[in-house]
């Protein structure tokens, strides 16, 4: 599939160079790319799902490696894998009534411990799970394949040999691919329309004469606010500028052109102003499985200030931003330091910053992170395209969108070959 490879490489380059910004654009393009990967993958007669999963996984691995901080890529890859599994499962159940999920074997195993990037917690979770459903107390006592036996046997072959026992495979294979692509189209559709769905809920949350604070710029937030405005609600928006990227200026401009009462403030004035604010509405970079949020830098401060004044802190996030991983040390591991030039004029400080000239450590360091981690206890509400949710319920949304086996997209080194 040479064409696809070109596309993939192209996309990887863009990700590496951070040419694609915003999780929405990224996830849409990822989904589209994976769609072409799937449509070009030749499916063998047996184990079609396995082949697709392998193909997607191989590409997904590269994509994730290209920009590990853009969690949306990984999310979409996992969603696609989940879609394949689900479609396969529904076909299998349709084909052979009574053939349950029980025979789906398990691709990951405990021997992953040498391979421990951010994701490896998930590996083991996957080990514990043997079906598409996450493990639960219900299944604790039920038969599970002996995990000791599984380890290396099925890894490269994919994990659905068991399922492919069904009768007429040739028709199924075509059908599977077709179904998967259908589902993918739906996914892409969902991603593109997610802010509309989110914005529809705006009137339920924004009332007359409210004062709303936001930081930085998010398309979802813009649509959300405008949706409320269209419903003839008049309210005021404080926009913190979000230095050093000053995306807030952009948002302020958009809001002003759409006729909203907008006040632009500096980030440092957030604490001063929050006491007069009724609600903080912000976008997110990613929502983690514990309900924590990876958000543009500065939002932790805003969330703390909101908590202090008991102002609801509402996060708008499309479901493509739900990430099934638990953050550990997110400030460091899921962050990206941007160029110091956004903060300081190089010319002025060139003598203090010495870049690799080999002398002793320079006196001046500049820290310019991209993201903040907002812990779940500071978030009052998530508004997603499926409605409003508490941070404590995010685990469940995630269980709906991802299957446990896919938490780790990266394969073990031996199988990667």
């Amino acid at each position: 599939m040479p064409d696809v490879q070109v596309l993939v490489n192209d996309f990887i380059n863009k990700l590496r160079k951070r040419k694609i910004e915003g999780s929405q654009a990224t996830s849409r393009q990822t989904a589209e790319l994976l769609r072409s990967v799937i449509s070009q993958t030749r499916v063998p007669y047996t184990n079609q799902a396995g082949a697709l999963i392998d193909a997607v996984r191989a590409v997904g691995e590269q994509l994730i490696a290209a920009n590990p901080v853009e969690l949306a890529v990984g999310n979409i890859v996992r969603r696609v894998l989940h879609i394949i599994r689900e479609e396969d499962l529904s076909l299998a159940t349709a084909a052979v009534a009574g053939l349950g999920l029980s025979s789906v074997s398990d691709d990951e195993d405990d021997s992953e411990r040498d391979n421990h990037p951010v994701l490896s917690a998930a590996v083991v979770a996957a080990a514990a799970r043997s079906t598409l459903r996450p493990p639960s107390l219900q299944t604790l006592l039920e038969d599970v394949p002996d995990s000791g036996a599984v380890p290396h046997t099925s890894s490269s072959g994919g994990d659905s040999e068991g399922k492919s026992k069904s009768a007429d495979k040739s028709s199924r294979s075509r059908k599977l691919k077709h179904d998967v692509i259908e589902a993918l189209n739906e996914l892409i559709q969902d991603i593109t329309t997610c802010h509309e769905l989110i914005a529809e809920q705006a009137v339920e949350h924004i009332h007359q004469n409210e004062v709303i604070l936001t930081l930085g710029s998010s398309r979802t937030v813009l649509e959300f606010l405008c949706a409320a405005k269209e419903k003839k609600r008049s309210f005021r928006v404080f926009v913190a500028e979000g230095a050093p990227r000053y995306q807030g200026h952009l948002l302020a401009k958009d809001l002003v052109t759409r006729g909203l009462q907008t006040t632009l403030i500096t980030d440092s004035a957030v604490f001063a102003m929050i006491s007069r604010v009724n609600m903080v509405i912000v976008g997110a970079h990613a929502v983690m499985a514990n309900g924590g949020v990876i958000a543009p830098v500065g939002l932790n401060m805003v969330a703390l200030a909101a908590q202090r004044h008991a102002v609801p802190f509402v996060v708008l996030a499309g479901s493509h931003k739900l990430c099934p991983l638990y953050p550990h040390n997110p400030e460091v591991l899921l962050n990206e330091l941007r160029s110091p030039s956004e903060l300081l004029d190089f010319g002025e400080f060139s003598d203090c910053m010495d870049f690799g000239t080999g002398t002793a450590s320079p006196l001046l360091h500049v820290v310019n992170p991209t993201f903040d981690y907002v812990p779940p206890k500071l978030v009052s509400l998530f508004i997603t395209d499926t409605g409003g949710h508490n941070p404590s319920y995010v685990y469940r949304l995630i269980a709906d969108y991802y299957s446990a086996d896919d938490l780790v997209v990266q394969r073990r080194p031996p199988t990667a070959s």
């Binding site: 411990r113 917690a121 590996v123 107390l137 039920e142 995990s147 779940p376 404590s392 685990y395």
Partner: protein, 409 residues
């Protein structure tokens, strides 16, 4: 004075014990699960006499198990232990074993409580596992001919087991879990009675394995949360937490552990001992030094006796205050607990659960007018817990209720 003797006995026991385990397990690695309860090390315990399961009603059975398994160093225990050292452990239990093994034959005299008591004496066996095995033994001994009868019989057994020791949460949880499996598993309905029965027995016996596997999974799950250079505060002796730290040490992670002393059981001493064996740097704290050291701590790791509906945990006395301190200083509190410890309980406060009493030795005589708080554990509400590591994955406290609702409603 008795300090020295305590450690002496501890060491002695440590030397003595492993061979025992190995002996019993190598003797009958398979029969262990199929046949009768293993030989007991009952001489360690006051509860050794199977026909008088609660010899000292002031000490909860739950606590006795704990004491036996975590080598609690109490004067009580010392007395028993000293007595035990006197004779070879293998000698005395033998007749008892016979006695206990017989119930399957002599049907009527079978007593689920005795069965359970014998199982729980195995140091590596969780209480829930013991409970489920005891219930399996009930099935084996049962003369029922239909599923219905069997269920009724099991129900009776599990009820008596539960009422025998109301203080043990994992006992209750284990019984409930198994009963739920028996009554709700659809597969059983399609099979004839005999195969269903043997399937039940087989699953029950596998449960020990499930429990071990659960510990391993939890250990693996928690690895990412232990980063190099971190300091972990541990309270109580939890096999799961030990497994977690062991795995971390094997993974060459660099970390140090603060162990609370765990008065009056001194569980922390035993725990630090175990860690020292793994070459993990350990520091022992007296229980009251928790707040003082919390600044240096990066995370708190505790086990749990039971995880309740709210997502909170019931655990060894002191967990609550450690969680409070950690919460107020913004340190994460991680709980490692196997999912079969999830129990349909919902304590509202500390007094809202059956207290598990324990003896407390203050080293000096306490005047009879002075009251002593002897409860062995406390309840930690979910808002003070950060994450639960279970074999179902890493969970926020809110998931516990979800799982329980799915299982029991």
């Amino acid at each position: 004075m008795w300090w020295r003797s305590a450690s002496f006995i501890l060491d002695h026991r440590l030397q003595e014990d492993p061979p025992n385990d190995i002996a019993s397990s190598s003797k009958e690695p398979d029969t262990l699960s199929k046949l009768s309860p293993p030989q007991t090390h009952s001489s360690f315990m006051a509860a050794a006499d199977p026909f008088n399961p609660i010899p000292n009603p002031k000490i909860s059975a739950y606590y006795q198990t704990r004491a036996a398994h975590t080598a609690v160093v109490t004067s009580d225990w010392l007395a028993q232990a000293q007595a035990a050292v006197g004779h070879h452990p293998d000698d005395s239990p033998a007749p008892q074993t016979q006695l206990l093994a017989s119930p399957s034959a002599s049907g009527k005299s079978f007593c689920v409580i005795n069965e359970f008591n014998n199982w729980r004496k195995q140091p590596d066996l969780a209480e829930a596992v013991a409970a489920i095995r005891a219930l399996a033994a009930v099935i084996r001994a049962s003369e029922a001919t239909t599923m219905m009868e069997l269920e009724i019989e099991l129900k009776k057994a599990s009820d008596s087991l539960k009422s025998w020791d109301t203080t043990s949460i994992s006992l209750t949880a284990g019984c409930d879990l198994f009963m739920r499996y028996v009554t709700r598993t659809s597969a059983l309905e399609y099979e004839d009675f005999n195969s269903a029965r043997s399937r039940l027995i087989e699953r029950a016996e596998k449960f020990g394995e499930i429990s071990c596997k659960a510990r391993r999974i939890i250990a693996m799950l928690s690895q990412d949360f232990i980063f190099d250079g971190c300091t972990i505060l541990v309270h109580g002796f939890s096999r799961v937490v030990l497994e977690v730290l062991k795995t971390a040490a094997q993974n060459k992670k660099l970390f140090r552990v603060f162990c609370t002393e765990g008065r009056p059981d001194r569980t922390g001493l035993r725990f630090s001992n175990e860690l020292a064996k793994l070459d993990v740097p350990v520091k022992l704290l007296i229980d009251s030094a928790v707040a003082y050291t919390m600044d240096e701590v990066d995370m708190v790791f505790v086990g749990a006796d039971g995880v309740v509906e709210s997502g909170g945990i019931i655990n060894m006395m002191g967990t609550y205050q450690i969680a409070l301190v950690a919460h107020s200083m913004n340190k994460p509190v991680y709980v490692a607990a196997e999912s079969y410890k999830f129990a349909r309980l919902y304590p509202l406060d500390q007094k809202d659960m059956a207290p598990a009493l324990r003896p407390i030795d203050f080293g000096v005589p306490i005047p009879s007018k002075v009251e002593v708080e002897r409860s062995a554990r406390d309840y930690t509400p979910p808002q003070y817990l950060t994450l639960l590591f279970t074999d179902l994955g890493v969970l926020t406290p809110s998931v516990v209720s979800d799982e329980l609702i799915q299982l029991y409603l």
